[in-house]
Each structure stands twice: as structure tokens, then as C-alpha cells.
Amino acid sequence: MNVDDYRKAYEAELAADAATVGATEAADSAIGHDPSDRIPALLATLGDANQSLLARIAALKAISAIRFLGVVFAPHRVAFLNILRQIAQPGTDPQLYERALAILAAEKDPDTQQRLRSGLKDPQAALVSPATALRLLSFDDHAGLADLALDVFHKAVDLATKEAALRVLATDAKSQDLFAKLLQDKSQPRSLRALSVTGLNYLNPQKFAEIAQNIVKDHGDYEDVRASALGALANTPLHHVIRDNAKFLDEIKTLGAQSPLENLRAAAGRFLTRS
């Protein structure tokens, strides 16, 4: 399209839209231009238990958006966190409660982190599910969660908690044997084996490459596990070394060309096109 015509069309679109919202916009533009003007009223709404849940969540979202202004929000940060601490107490609606807890965890609030840790050790004291607690504690990359996560992994009976624990353990050097064991054990849930692909590749690429090549070649193993392993081999620092293995490369070429399994075929394609 000619640029002049394109401009006319876009300006017409803007004009048509402006006509439908003129009154609202005029009211908005009558308010001042300082973003911090809005913050006290929003904090008051958020902290007011008599306000509706929707109004309080809307205020929280609006404050969260304004927080992207960084220094502009800084003078209000302490008041905001204090309100969140009040909200993050038993008795608050769970929808608001969990949101407040997440923000406090992201802020690395020591009391919140301690309460989340306590809940992982003692289910009676848990604020949220173990999987959620691990996700929230992981905001802090210096949280030192490995021992706690390993304990959670062994005690947990539900898959979601085990998965969350493995995500934490994936950066713990001591956990590489656990990942190697899970990855090679066909009786394990496939989601745990898929996470073990990533975990072992992260912790010990050499060991991972050896195990993964065997899994990829094993036609009796599950497609998704084989595809995950092959996809990871395309993304390992040892990729070029693995490509030098002519026999394995032929196997991948065959998979890429002939495998009836879509994920495996696609992963083979990615492995082969990686330069």
C-alpha cells in the first residue's frame, strides 16, 4: 500500500475511535500529570477490607503497573508492603491473599520467606501448597532451597510437588545422580524424566550426553522423553562433539526423515539444522 494511503487509513481509524471515547478522554485529561497522584487512593482501596474483592484486586493491579515507574513509586514502597503484610494473613480471601504473598516473596520479604519455608517443613503451618511455596521461594535465587526441595521431593506423593522440587534441584550440583537415575528409569512419570533431561544437562552435560544418546536410540522408550532428550542434545555445548559421531548422526537423520512420531521428527530436524 502507498504510504500516503496508509496514513490516511490509519488516521481515519484513530479519528473514528476518538469520536467514540471523547467524553471519557476529556475527563481523564483534566487530571494532573504526576503518576504519583493516584497512588495514595489506590493504596487506601487495597488496604480497605470493606472494599469489594474486585476493587481491591483492581487497585493491586493498578499499583503493580505503576511500580514499573521505579523511582516514582519508591516513596510508597514501605506503605505498600505493610498493606500486603496485613493482607497476607489467614482470613483474607485466598485470591487476594496469594497475590499479596507472591509480591512479598518477590520482594524477598524475610518473614514471608520464613513462613513459606516453615510450611514446607510442617504442612500444618503451610500458607499455600508445597509447589506454590517452592515457586514463590524461587524468586530469590540465593534462597538456598536445595536441601529443603530434596526433602519435599522424597516426601511428596503428588506429581506437581515433585516437579516443583526438581525445578529447584536442577541447579544443585549434588542432585545430578538423582537426575541421572530418574532419567534412565522408565517406570518414573514422564514429566519427571523430562525435567531430569534439563536438570542433568544443566548440571553435567557430559553425563547427560551419554545417557541421552542411548535414550534417543531406544525405540522402546517413550516418544516425548526421546524427543526431550534429542531437543536438549541440540542445545548442549557438546553438540558439535555429538555430531562427529557418524553412527549417531545417521540415526538422527533417519529419525528426521522417517519417524512417524512428530515430536521426535521435529527434534531431529532441529538437531540437524543446528550449525
Binding site: 504510504v3 500529570h33 505503576i66 514499573f68 521505579g70 534439563t198
Partner: protein, 419 residues
């Protein structure tokens, strides 16, 4: 007798990557007679990407151009650009063909790519997959160069890029830096934008940026390049949607964004400025457990760059609509306190300037701004002003990228052919 075509900014393999901004090129006869000249028609002959030509730098290029080429091999200059709204999908699907006007015989051709940032929702699968593969390699299980990008945007560095006029220029540079890193892996890749004011169900799928499960973990198809995603010792991407997957995020529309005001202050950083909504609102359209929800952890989620490509697109579109690309235009940027270092037009931007300590952060990850053969802009230590005119409509060098819905249009004050 052949025609040789040379386009400025070709890479080491001779490949030219174009946007909507015209770039200089030459055509010359090779193996012709000593005297006389031949009328040669240049035309766009690709299977997908379109090209336009002109003898001067203009926004009125045509799909064919006749040049009178001296047979002795003297080059003749012209300008070539991608034809607006006819982007390439891959290298070589745009072709510049030169033929003898008298006989119609093809005397030469040059394969190029019209490399344009596109809407992620409608991105063709092959382009999506190349983008993802490059992103996965850049991340390299948390140990690749993506770590530098992660380290640039943290709680400790916030003042460099948020809450001040430099918000939009800094993030423009940031997305471009990442894009160039991806292009060093695969030159055909651009950063797609997440148009957050429209439904984008194709984006949050197991094939693309991950489908959030009930535990707010992005799930990918087995073998997906982002299955290995890791940042900050965190495996995977924690992301929950607080909006309907089949609807827009909780943001104002594009047209409402354009109406925020026709000065930069009102548009970008004011009380109702776009840094809050749609930008901040897009970030917090995800659950509070989502890493993208917070400045300090947002870059753990690679959707960050697609969100910010859209923020940049909105700025680029606002600049185009209002002709606000000239650094000397007081409405094109905002003034700020003298000591607000990094947010004046003449300030260099951290971390690319390498300055640490004092008002700047303690470290400067990533090094200087990466160079590209496509354009010398913005240089290794870009200033804020260098980011204002991404297509160089006022002259100078473009930044080497463009959006599929923001055209190259000369401002009213600039005539074709100059500056």
C-alpha cells in the same frame, strides 16, 4: 554481458537484509562493450518479499526502475527498500532482478531478505521455529549470552531504564541488542512482537512461548528449544495468565495509546503515560507469581522481549503518526532533571557505555552495543538521541529494523533525496 548489483550493508557472505528504509545500491554492466549504454530495468521478482526502487532516497519507491547503465562498467547508483507490507519469510524470497529493457533478457539478479519484525500471533511456523531455536541457543541452559541480558534489567539497575524519559529509548536499544545477538546465530531472525491489546492465543502455546499449566509453569512440546530454559538458577518459566487466553491482556488499546497525547511527556511518562498502561499493565496481566510481573525478574521470561517489541512498535507508530522522530523537536522527547544521568538526549546509555559506579550500576554486563554489517547505527556506545529515528526518516543511518505496520515516510520537512 551481465549486471552486477551491490547493496550497501551486505554481510560477509554478500547477503543484504533490508527493511522499509531505502539503502544505497549500485548496478553496473560487467563484460559489456566499451562504449554506449544499455537501458536496464530493475524489478522486484521474489516469491514473497517485495522491493521498491528509486533514484533518490524517498518514500515513493516503485516496483521497477529503469537505469541507463554505461557499457564500460561505470556503476549507477539507486536506492532499494522493502516494499511496505510485503516482508520476507526467509532469505532469498525477495529478489532484485535486472533485465535488458530492449530484449527482456535477465542480465542479473540478487537475492535479499526484507527482514521485518512481525506480529507473533500470525507469525508463520518456520519463522517462529527459527526464532525459538536461536533463543534457545542464546540461553544455552542458563549459561549463554542471555545471562548478560538478564543481568542488565534488575532491581539494582532500574533507574537506568524506568520512571524517566529514557524508558523508551533504553528498551529500544535493549530489544535491538537481543535481536542482533539472535541474528548472529541465525541472520533471518527478528524479534516478533506480542500485540497485547489483541487476542494472541497462538503465542501462549506449547509450540511457541509455552502453555501455562495449573501450577503456573510454561509447558512446551517435547524437544522444544525452550524446554531447557534456565535463568538465575531457575529452571523453566514461571508464568500464569491473569487474562483470558482468547482475549487481549488487561491493557488499553493501540488507538487509545496513540491518544495518550502528541507530546512525548504525555505519551510516554505522564500520569496516564504508556509506561504505566499499556506497558506496566501488560506486565501485570500475568499472575503475581509470574516472573514477568516484576522489573527485577521480568527478563527470566523471554516473553519480555516480545512484550517490549510491542511497546517499541507503539512508540514507533506514535512517532510516525505525529512526526516525532527528530531529536531537536521538543515534543519528541522530554526534559528531566540535570542529574538524571542517562535520560537526556546527549547522554550515553548504560550498560553499553561501560560506565559503572556513582549514579550508574556497579557493573556493566554485555559490553559495547553489537555492530552489524547492515548499518553503522547506533554505534558501540549509543546515546539516547540515537534511538529516536529508527528508520532514519530524517537522514543518517537507520537502526536496521522495522515493524510490519510502521512505514518509512519522510517527514513534511524532508524532501525526497535529502538530507
Amino acid at each position: 554481458m551481465n549486471v552486477q548489483i551491490d547493496i550497501a550493508g551486505a554481510d560477509a557472505q554478500g547477503r543484504a537484509f533490508l527493511t522499509w528504509a531505502p539503502v544505497p545500491a549500485t548496478a553496473k554492466m560487467v563484460g559489456g562493450a566499451d562504449g554506449g549504454a544499455t537501458d536496464v530495468v530493475l524489478r522486484s521478482a521474489g516469491s514473497l518479499g517485495g522491493l521498491v526502487f528509486d533514484t533518490v532516497r524517498s518514500d515513493q519507491g516503485k516496483s521497477s526502475l529503469t537505469l541507463n547503465l554505461p557499457n564500460d562498467g561505470q556503476p549507477v547508483a539507486f536506492f532499494v527498500a522493502g516494499e511496505f507490507q510485503k516482508p520476507s519469510s526467509t532469505f532469498g524470497d525477495a529478489v532484485l532482478e535486472a533485465s535488458d529493457k530492449a530484449t527482456g533478457n535477465v542480465l542479473g539478479s540478487k537475492a535479499v531478505m526484507v527482514r521485518i519484525r512481525k506480529n507473533a500471533q500470525t507469525l508463520p511456523a518456520p519463522e517462529r521455529d527459527r526464532y525459538l531455536a536461536a533463543l534457545g541457543i542464546l540461553n544455552a541452559r542458563g549459561q549463554g549470552a542471555y545471562r548478560d541480558f538478564r543481568d542488565m534489567h534488575t532491581d539494582e539497575t532500574t533507574r537506568e531504564m524506568h520512571g524517566s524519559p529514557g524508558f523508551l529509548p533504553w528498551h529500544r536499544a535493549y530489544v535491538l541488542d537481543l535481536e542482533r545477538a539472535l541474528q548472529a546465530i541465525d541472520a533471518t531472525v527478528t524479534v516478533p512482537y506480542w500485540r497485547f491489546d489483541q487476542p494472541a492465543p497462538n503465542l501462549f502455546t506449547a509450540d511457541f512461548m509455552g502453555e501455562s499449566d495449573s501450577n503456573e509453569v510454561a509447558q512446551f512440546r517435547p524437544g522444544h528449544p525452550l524446554n531447557q530454559w534456565a535463568t538465575d538458577h531457575e529452571l523453566g518459566i514461571i508464568r500464569g495468565l491473569d487474562f483470558d487466553l482468547n482475549g487481549p491482556a488487561n491493557v488499553i488499546s493501540e488507538t487509545a495509546t496513540m491518544r495518550l497525547g502528541n507530546t512525548y511527556t504525555r505519551f510516554a511518562t505522564g500520569r496516564l503515560g504508556m509506561e504505566i498502561d499499556p506497558h506496566g499493565s501488560a506486565h501485570v496481566s500475568f499472575s503475581e507469581a509470574s516472573r514477568i510481573h516484576f522489573i527485577g525478574t521480568a527478563v527470566r521470561d523471554p516473553v519480555f522481549f516480545m512484550l517490549h517489541a510491542n511497546v517499541d512498535r507503539l512508540w514507533a507508530k506514535w512517532q510516525w503518526v505525529n512526526h516525532r522522530t527528530l531529536a531537536t523537536d521538543p515534543a519528541a522527547f522530554a526534559r528531566t532533571a540535570t542529574d538524571n544521568i542517562g535520560h537526556h538526549l546527549g547522554d550515553t546509555m548504560w550498560p553499553w557505555n561501560g560506565i559503572t559506579g556513582g549514579a550508574r550500576p556497579a557493573t556493566a554486563p554485555g559490553g559495547p552495543f553489537p555492530a552489524t554489517k547492515v548499518t553503522p547505527a547506533p554505534g558501540p556506545t549509543p546515546k539516547v538521541a540515537a534511538m529516536l529515528d529508527h528508520l532514519a526518516v530524517n537522514g543518517g543511518d537507520p537502526l536496521g529494523y522495522a515493524y510490519d505496520d510502521v512505514p518509512f515516510e519522510l517527514p513534511p520537512t524532508v524532501v525526497a533525496g535529502g538530507p
